[in-house]
Symmetry: C2
Subunit: 174 residues, 2 copies
């Protein structure tokens, strides 16, 4: 199986805690192997690790790793770097070129440095309208996995949902 | 064309401003006609209206409308109410039953009242893992429109992106 890791760039601990947590949970729920934040944030790390403990894994989160080094290491090991940006090529045009490869998916918090556009193998957009990096990441992963990611079974879970149309049913192994 | 409107419930102006703005921008970018917030928030209204002014429409935002009344009115006019929740039925199982109908898509900020699960015609999940209402809404709309929503052309835009693999190209009519 190819590896898929998300790199969250430009994270500002005060301002971005919630949105970055959404990005991390989307990465996990939609089939990525883990997420790296460029800026250290133990709070987000703990929130995400708590979700992994309760709902299962494997899924890793690391923070405080300089983005240039993460990208350089990824390229050295033969993987592709995909930058999600509204300015990039339509995602449906890019998918065929990246299928089956190890992917580092880069999502930014605010304006990204021009250097990143050049370092990335592909700059790709989920629609060319302003919306949300949370949404863009989810739709990209959904397209990469062709919808199968939402049926993924996690290991070592303590909580699991039994789907139903009315109300809530949760299986517990606590 | 069937109407699709998003109802954002449980919005807390202090805490949820950014995530609710992401929800609203996803609603617009992924083809919904508008969004209603149950709680008044002129700040979010202004942010979203500014995006519509620059990037085009039509798309409406209204806030401060009690959710029970919004749902009641929607049902009265013959539309379906779809509640996005991780406890619901898999989205792929629900889509065939809702295609072609007017849809009110309900996304909550935090824990939703049990009453909502009963009022909704369908409670549906994009994966049964904790992630993000922003992601769930995007993937649901992407599935409803079968990917065509990202090619939607907006009217009266002042800014429009010309996709490219490196750098940024924006067409301006200012």
């Amino acid at each position: 199986m190819p590896r898929i890791v998300v790199l969250r760039m430009g994270h500002r601990p005060q301002r971005d805690k919630r949105v970055t947590t959404h990005v991390a949970l989307v990465a996990r729920a939609f089939g990525a192997d883990g997420i790296i934040l460029d800026v250290k944030d133990s709070g987000v790390e703990r929130s995400v690790q708590k979700v992994v403990e309760l709902w299962g894994g494997p899924f890793f989160i690391r923070s405080g790793e300089p983005w240039r080094r993460v990208i350089k290491d990824w390229h050295s090991s033969g993987g592709l770097v995909i930058h999600l940006t509204m300015y990039g090529l339509p995602v449906d045009d890019v998918i065929p070129s990246i299928e089956g490869r190890d992917l580092l998916l880069v999502v930014g918090a605010e304006k990204m440095p021009g250097e990143l556009f050049n370092l990335a193998d592909f700059n790709t957009a989920v629609g060319h309208q302003p919306h949300s990096e949370v949404a863009a990441l989810a739709v990209l992963l959904d397209k990469i996995f062709k919808g199968s990611e939402t049926k993924k079974e996690f290991k070592k879970w303590k909580l699991r949902i039994i789907p139903k149309n009315k109300g809530k049913k949760v299986e517990k192994k606590l």
